[in-house]
Subunit: 323 residues, 2 copies
DNA sequence: CTGTTAGCGCCTTCAC
DNA sequence: GTGAAGGCGCTAACAG
């Protein structure tokens, strides 16, 4: 980052003081129009790039928000990133993304990294619902998106109604004739807990038994989802399977061809364009990503403007994509 | 970013000078072990977070590299991000991502943004091969990945051999009996030009005619890929179709069900897990993303260490995934 | 082993 | 309409 022009350089070449350059570049009416444009042109020609680090340290503001997500390979999160970036750009904020790869340690590092860069606020899709956020975050304005920590609402949270969403998916399976529905749930996130709850609820509502034998949970990095798929679907043990997220769903699909099955249903959470083209047809719950992203960003900006807002929780209703 | 502890605060509470705090936190052996640990503990307890902006401005280094990509919704680029982040972390560098959404203006803004943040170097997957990078980049150490600007090699570039990759895909189609192969190419990127060239080459190699009527190019944001698909496949105009990237491929798949076709082949560039589950079976060229990312990062770090390296180009060979 | 001093690049009073 | 001076938080050279 060396050999860069500074305001001092510009001031010398223009024969004015640094202060004047600073004002000119800020287009302040306090400097004569002639010199103002002269300096601006000079800066342009010489390819001057203001040092935002220095500026930020002076004005105590970076105009940047940090975003921490568990898995950048998950299309749900990339869509969320897009939505938030767009909303931020419109408000003249930049966004810097950090990926935790579902690892609590990496999430801690991410928080410290972004605090070190003095972002004005943080958007977090929690990797570990039991993380000690109070200690880590201190007074940093923070909004949780999609995945919030356990416990009382001490931060703003904009979430999807996972319980209701899963209920709808499962209810749909039942309506279509499924009676023994297995579930492969994801990691220990709050999302997972809620989806399991929705699953239970739906079975109870329809007077079906909840059988622990067909409820399994997979740490995604652990390569055993395919094995679980076999155990659940073989020998007519289940006639339907709910994969709690995209990653799991793909693993399930990998295993299917080996198993010779007659009638069965597969469903999941999080919709994807490619789901339109795979067989068997897969029904999913689809989250209003755009909406969530925009709302989260706006909430964060509001909180940055006023640290004393009361933390609130907002739930968004997912839709059902029947296939 | 206000109300944060500074070294001055720590110095006061510890009854030492700022300099000592600075040294203690850097774990310098020049400060007595007792005071060192005392200060470190204090910092820990109070949740002190060093201001990296101030540090960077002082040491003239951010330990951060910027990465500019055209489309974060494209899984190819998210995989590339992952590869580069991992490699960077291992070398104690942070990565900040900016997405251009395939818009040259946004790419210009991105370069300026990252220069303003004084990143130590830039990794760019070019959005516009005719962008005036020389002017924009100045002396910023830069390596192009996957998509490079047109013209002579004035920057390092780590690319995929798109010509060879496409040739292989097309040759595979021909081997399997295709005789009239249409192509829907992507935007005006260098990648697109090369894939078209590979397509032509493959046809010529097999003594097949190159018919301009079945070569079309789609700006992806423009919603006409489906129409092109119909035009190319209807009435047996073509017996195979090559979609030059993922986005285009998805559009093609959307259109297929409407068209009642007998035998035909679809193929594409960039492999995805879900391609294993769609019908028709789709053969693709698969890029060695991991390898490219690591190589690009290493090259950039080498260049940061020594600005006077001669720019070089390296091509990676894509594999063929036959389905 | 520790403190003093200076300065990184910028913005913002306060003067004139 | 412009300049001089100070300070944001940090590190590094120089003293002692």
């Amino acid at each position: 980052m060396a050999d860069k022009l500074t305001m001092k350089d510009l001031a010398q070449r223009a024969g004015v003081s640094e202060a004047t350059v600073s004002r000119a570049l800020a287009d302040s009416p306090r400097v004569k129009l002639a010199t103002r444009t002269r300096i601006q042109r000079l800066a342009q020609e010489l390819g001057y790039s203001p040092n935002q680090l220095a500026r930020s340290i002076r004005v105590q503001r970076t105009q940047t928000i940090g975003m921490i997500i568990p898995n950048i390979l998950n299309p749900f999160f990339t869509s969320l990133i897009r939505a938030i970036e767009d909303a931020a750009k419109a408000q003249h904020y930049d966004v810097v993304i950090v990926n935790t790869d579902e690892q609590p340690d990496a999430e801690r590092d991410a928080i410290q990294l972004l605090q070190g860069k003095r972002v004005d606020g943080l958007l977090i899709a929690s990797t570990d619902p039991n993380q000690d956020y109070d200690r880590l975050l201190g007074a940093t304005p923070t909004v949780f998106v999609d995945r919030a920590p356990n416990g009382p609402i001490t931060y703003d949270r904009l979430l999807v109604d996972n319980v209701a969403g899963t209920q709808r998916v499962i209810a749909n399976l039942i309506t279509r004739g499924a009676r023994r529905i297995g579930i492969i749930n994801s990691s220990a996130s709050a999302t997972a807990t809620e989806r399991l709850q929705g699953y239970r609820q739906a079975l109870l509502n329809h007077g079906l038994p909840v059988d622990p034998d067909i409820i399994v949970s997979a740490r995604k990095d652990n390569g055993n989802v395919q094995q679980m798929t076999r155990q659940l679907l073989q020998n007519q043990k289940c006639d339907a399977l709910f994969a709690a997220d995209n990653t799991i769903l793909l693993e399930v699909l990998h295993k299917l061809p080996e198993l010779t099955l007659s009638t069965y249903f597969i469903s999941g959470f999080d919709d994807n364009d490619w789901l339109n083209f795979v067989s068997p047809a897969i029904t999913t719950a689809k989250q209003p990503i755009q909406e969530i992203g925009v709302a989260a960003l706006n909430r964060l900006l509001a909180r940055i403007a006023n640290h004393h807002l009361l933390p609130t929780e907002k739930r968004f209703q997912p839709g059902l994509v029947v296939r």
